[in-house]
Symmetry: C2
Subunit: 370 residues, 2 copies
């Protein structure tokens, strides 16, 4: 259900209702510009991941800086992006359910639509639906380069599935999906690089095998905020699916190397609603305002204040030293532990600059799990 | 943003789109009836917690069985309940922000509204707003009986605050809020009982002190699914704020004693979207379909299938023995690890009975954090 926005355009930041999901526009634009500058002049394009931002406004900001389109995990997420003006969407996931496949091919009449596969019967179902709808669907074979989630094995298994795709009227073999999400968060840069390099080697080997079979990979898509420079420099990837780089979070701020070039632009603005004892404050943001799946949120710009635990609608803060000056009604800027599922709790971004609310962006793919 | 419902009334359960939040109506009604039967004929009434269900339909089912009204954590949650036909709401929380207080007193023109306090300046703000709006707001003094969150200390501190409330035109001292949420989940029954008994002793002492000051506690409200029988038998509590008992979850299913009388009625219905290797299946429900703050979901009725980890939109299942028969497209019934924040991810309950969808209930307080 759509909730009321917690602010109005033009309002001072101090008047934003809490809890609210707030974007620092200067930091956000820095992040978008940095990614665009890194990829500019290379053969690699950004396909920003909508599973992070859930918002066509953000997708269009990425596209205005050179992104080819959006990456989505769900058909409903892709529908929300196309409804919002995105003309090229890759569903970086397997779509198996019959009605979801029907919606996917219907969407292909309105935009360039790509989807991933890792199963030959699923390929048959996609092909039949595409033919019935009179569209030609672009298909990437997903390979598992270490994620231990979806995808066929790199090498011969991928080639066999790609041949099966290429043989189907209604489908177009478009290349490979190779995303190593688990490696993105290996904190030490050399260990992370080593993991990603094994993934890159798997991709290169598979692309070479495909080429020998006459199957060209128009797209090799993957890579996230923790590793995109390595995939971009590999000479074999030509799309980067980073999402978190726009906003960042506690988890990514711990990662060594280039993710640190991105600035924290996303905050949950909370307010102190109880101040029962000197060493404790309670804020109005708990499990329904912050996802704690990767740990507690950080506290921005306040010494001696630690977010200790979250219940449904409360955040309990431990106060020490100067932190004990925190008073009833005071605002606290929290850095989400994990940006993606935190954003998915909200209907609106409150975009701020220079102490004022500059824009309110609707998170139209919030809750889009179908 | 409101998403499309994943089902239609009359549809066979096998056709529900996934992931979906599904209520087994027989189990749900068993739970509602059991709670009503336990409290029937006593001086204790249920005030079901809307932070769990977020849905006026559920609140009205509780009220039809004798509940006095709803408990809410947020003003916006209370507004959603009143909009849906609930005539008596307790905001079991401190409301500090000026605009939230204005909305609270406005709501008091449409329904019986109670709120909690733990700070004298907040009492003054509530009183001023109530007088300005021409309403008389019922106020409970929140005491901390072991939760280490909000609330003043039991005893003299509570009495002092109650006197301050009672002295304000515009406010009515209505009693005590004493909720010991942290004790609800102590698994061993005797340890949990011991914790709750210390809370009950604190409440009894405070009620007696208040009485000596001429301050009658019309309401003593608190207690959850893990302890409600003890508070209900205490002779001092007269409202029970249980929420989870309607639905249950993995966390509560581990708790010894009477919570086990309630049946699991809430499920996330997911589907297998990838079946890459014999020992692994991937379902279409991850962090945006299931809150994992209290651990991974359970798998209902399938031997050899374990929900191992969740990423944004994927659930990775480990398969052993007979579990390896799980096939692409198969449905999996998941038991949420923690029901409240899981429900808050959805716009619709799909209520099923006898293999068919019987109703679709809108979760109108989904995302109501303001």
């Amino acid at each position: 259900m759509t909730t009321r926005p917690p602010a109005e355009v033009g309002m001072p930041v101090a008047e934003i209702d809490t809890p609210a999901l707030v974007v620092d526009l200067d930091a956000y634009e820095h992040n978008l510009d940095l990614m665009a500058a890194t990829l500019r002049g290379t053969a690699v394009r950004l396909r920003g991941h909508a599973k992070t931002h859930k918002c066509p406004t953000v997708a269009l900001h990425q596209i205005a800086r050179g992104a080819v389109g959006s990456c989505c995990q769900k058909v409903s997420e892709a529908e929300a992006m196309v409804d919002g003006g995105v003309r090229n969407v890759l569903v970086s996931n397997e779509i198996v359910d019959r009605r979801k496949i029907e919606r996917l091919v219907a969407l292909a009449r309105r935009a360039e639509v790509l989807v991933c596969v890792d199963d030959p019967r699923n390929v048959d179902d996609l092909a039949a639906a595409a033919r019935a709808a009179g569209v030609r669907l672009g298909v990437l074979v997903e390979i598992d380069v270490g994620n231990a989630r979806c995808g066929v094995a790199p090498g011969e298994a991928a080639v066999a599935l790609a041949r099966h795709v290429a043989a189907q009227p209604g489908l177009r073999f478009a290349g490979l999906q190779a995303y190593y999400g688990r490696a993105q968060h290996i904190n030490e840069v050399e260990k992370r690089r080593a993991a990603i390099e094994t993934g890159i080697a798997d991709v290169r080997h598979t692309v070479d095998l495909l080429k020998r079979q006459g199957l060209a990979c128009e797209l090799v898509s993957g890579a996230g905020t923790g590793s995109y420079r390595w995939e971009a420099a590999s000479g074999v990837y030509n799309e980067v699916q980073a999402g978190s780089y726009c906003f960042m979070d506690v988890e990514y701020n711990l990662v060594e190397g280039f993710p640190r070039e991105f600035r924290q632009s996303l905050f949950v603005l909370a307010a102190v609603m109880s101040r029962p004892v000197p060493e404790r404050a309670v804020v109005d943001a708990g499990l329904k305002a912050l996802s704690v799946d990767k740990g507690m949120p950080g506290v921005h710009g306040l010494a001696g204040v630690e977010f200790q635990r979250a219940s449904d609608e409360h955040g309990v803060m431990k106060l020490e030293g100067a932190g004990q000056r925190l008073a009833l009604g005071d605002r606290v800027w929290l850095v989400p532990g994990h940006c993606d599922p935190t954003i998915n709790l909200y209907d609106w971004y409150v975009a701020v600059r220079g102490g004022r609310v500059e824009a309110i962006w609707p998170i139209t793919a919030r809750g889009a799990v179908l």
